[in-house]
């Protein structure tokens, strides 16, 4: 394990919008963060603190203005857009607050989609994996339903299954229980935790729910674009 690089390492990451203009605004300042394999981490902070921007940068959907970002030890600053897209598809899974399932496809097709995009999987293997993931989410009976015909909790579990379909090392979940009732939220959280324990997948979960955050391995707080505290104190381990 000592040789295994962290799943995620951020070194002095800054993000500035409208660089060089009068409207220039620095959203993130010198963010350092390390996520190890098997970790289940909550990312908290008030609205407008820069959580979503940070999540987009970690998810390789946006580039930092300065600083370094490593995914599984690979420096992403050296990669072009095409390589970043490929790395994102294979190493990172996304779960969003609004589910974002593709309405034209059924539940199982949504789960198969990342594998189809990657073009590496034979059809039978793709279907078998999607079926297994949906079974893990207790949705195998609903796999042929169109995404629109499912409840919010079910859609979110499909989204988790989709996030896991490429067996990524990191899952980024942006308020995954934000739009769900307490029972569905609890179910979804337990599912994510189950996957984390069973597969060792690292989770970084953005949430405003302190009770949920307390159930994570540790909590990382972002306030005004900075990590709360400095040095070792910035990571407040809750459990």
């Amino acid at each position: 394990m000592a040789d295994t690089p962290p799943v995620l390492r951020l070194e002095a990451v800054c993000k500035t919008y409208n660089l060089g203009t009068e409207a220039e605004v620095e959203v993130l300042h010198d963010i350092d963060l390390v996520l190890q394999p098997h970790e289940f981490v909550a990312l908290m902070g008030p609205s407008g603190s820069g959580k979503s921007t940070l999540l987009n940068i970690i998810g390789l959907l946006d580039r930092p203005t300065s600083g370094k970002l490593f995914i599984n030890g690979q420096d992403t600053g050296e990669l072009d857009d095409e390589a970043l897209t490929k790395l994102r598809g294979r190493s990172i899974g996304f779960v969003f607050q609004s589910h974002f399932l593709i309405s034209a496809f059924t539940a199982i097709e949504n789960v198969m989609m990342p594998m189809l995009v990657d073009q590496k999987f034979p059809n039978a293997a793709m279907r078998a994996r999607a079926h297994a993931l949906l079974a893990e989410m207790e949705l195998d009976k609903w796999e042929d339903n169109l995404a629109n015909n499912m409840s919010g909790g079910q859609q979110q579990r499909v989204a988790i299954a989709r996030g896991l379909s490429m067996n990524p090392s990191l899952i980024l979940a942006d308020e995954p229980t934000g739009n769900l009732d307490s029972v569905s939220a609890d179910t979804v959280f337990k599912m994510m935790r189950k996957v984390n324990i069973a597969n060792g997948t690292t989770f970084l979960i953005v949430t405003h729910n302190i009770d949920l955050a307390k159930r994570c391995d540790r909590i990382v707080e972002v306030v005004d674009g900075r990590m709360e505290g400095q040095g070792a104190d910035r990571l407040r381990v809750s459990r």
């Binding site: 974002f100 199982i108 198969m112 995009v117 490429m166």
Partner: protein, 414 residues
């Protein structure tokens, strides 16, 4: 979802299926555009082919004629001086084509030439009793001439032997109007006097109807030998009629013959220049119509896909987040354009073909016969399909680029 096709195909088809009303309307729009193009192309091609066929069944593709007689200026002793101030154009006498037998033998060997028919046309007077009419008497070798000018197809009276009317040196074939004017029918005698003064008593062996009053009253056909005797041009011919494999290559071959033989060779394209001007004008106007129809189809596809990109921006964002490359997104939308063009052209081709069939069966001449023979080239459908697919892809280019360039973060935010 079976992985029978790449990601782009599956996604394109699903997107089109999900927005089925939009898809249905735009396919209908494309189909109407393609139907108009197919219908007009088929109509224009058939009408042109019919006109060309009519023109070419009554005249050769190329005709070799004797050279124009010109007067030369009388030169003085000093270089560059002429003695006669005015040069008068000489009258054009009946002169045989020099060495026409050799030229005919050469032309028969040409791979692009199908038939070669030496002939002689001269004016004459057809007399029966007190009635007389001026005619253009053409002396022909019926075995080859009737392969060029399909006169046997227009014979209305007289016996055909092996598909050809009888034409010995004692026979004459005349038109219906001339037969009516002179009161003759098949088997009757006719006195033919040429401008040279020579006269022969000939038997009417057949009567034709070319569907043109002037042609039926002034044209008459006799054996070449008979015409030579009447025109006082024994052993000579005034023209060599030629047909070629591809009538539209006639002008090129005519120029080749002129260069090769040193004789004047006129193609039907040159002698029917006005006809071709009309055809070209027709083609041009149709091209303009096709351009505007194509543009309206293209803008229709583009507008639907632009709306689709806006509607699907979240889907595009999530696909990008899942690792879909910009190129894959580009291909998804280009494919949608191609599929719309393809499906629209299939429906449109069927619609256009059936409309043309209906038009052909309903619109008739006053006597109930068809205006033109029904024919649609399969290549018309293929070209309509290719054109529609290309238009679809071209129309999809801008929306597809827009989709590919969408920032996934912005796209997911909607």
């Amino acid at each position: 979802m079976n992985r029978w096709a790449p990601f782009e195909w599956i996604t394109s088809i699903r997107f089109l299926k999900e927005g089925r009303m939009q898809t249905l309307f735009i396919i209908t729009g494309i189909a109407i555009g393609v139907a108009v193009i197919v219908f007009m192309s088929a109509l224009l091609t058939s009408l042109q082919a019919n006109i060309v066929r009519r023109v070419l069944t009554s005249q050769p593709h190329i005709q070799i004629i004797p050279p124009d007689e010109v007067a030369r200026s009388l030169r003085g002793n000093e270089p560059g001086t002429t003695l006669a101030a005015t040069i008068q154009r000489p009258t054009q006498r009946l002169r045989s084509i020099d060495q026409w037998q050799t030229i005919t033998a050469q032309l028969v060997q040409h791979p692009d030439i199908t038939y070669v028919s030496p002939n002689l046309s001269a004016s004459a007077l057809a007399v029966r009793g007190d009635a007389s009419r001026s005619i253009t008497m053409t002396g022909i070798d019926p075995l080859v001439y009737f392969k060029i000018v399909k006169l046997p197809d227009f014979i209305v009276l007289g016996t055909l032997i092996n598909g050809m009317p009888q034409l010995t040196s004692e026979d004459i074939i005349i038109g219906t109007e001339l037969a009516k004017d002179l009161g003759v029918t098949v088997g009757d005698k006719l006195n033919v006097t040429a401008a040279s003064g020579n006269a022969r008593l000939l038997t009417v062996s057949a009567i034709f109807d070319l569907g043109n009053k002037g042609a039926n009253s002034h044209n008459a056909f006799v054996a070449l030998r008979t015409a030579q005797v009447l025109a006082n041009l024994v052993g000579g011919v005034l023209a060599i009629d030629i047909t070629v494999v591809d009538p539209y290559q006639a002008e090129v071959i005519a120029q080749e013959i002129s260069v090769g033989t040193g004789r004047t060779a006129d193609s039907w394209i040159k002698t029917n220049a006005q006809f071709f001007t009309a055809i070209n004008a027709q083609k041009l106007s149709f091209g303009v119509i096709r351009l505007f129809v194509g543009l309206s189809v293209a803008f229709g596809i583009a507008s639907v896909l632009v709306v689709s990109v806006i509607q699907r921006s979240k889907d595009i964002g999530i696909l990008r987040a899942m690792g879909t490359s910009q190129r894959q997104i580009l291909r998804v939308f280009l494919l949608q354009g191609a599929l719309l063009g393809f499906l629209g052209s299939i429906v449109g081709s069927a619609l256009g073909g059936l409309s043309f069939l209906f038009f052909h069966s309903v619109v008739r001449q006053s006597d109930g016969t068809e205006i033109f023979p029904f024919s649609i080239e399969p290549s018309l459908f293929v070209s309509a399909l290719v054109l529609a697919v290309i238009t679809g892809v071209a129309a999809a280019a801008v929306p597809a680029l827009r989709a590919a360039r969408l920032d996934p973060v912005v796209a997911m935010r909607g």
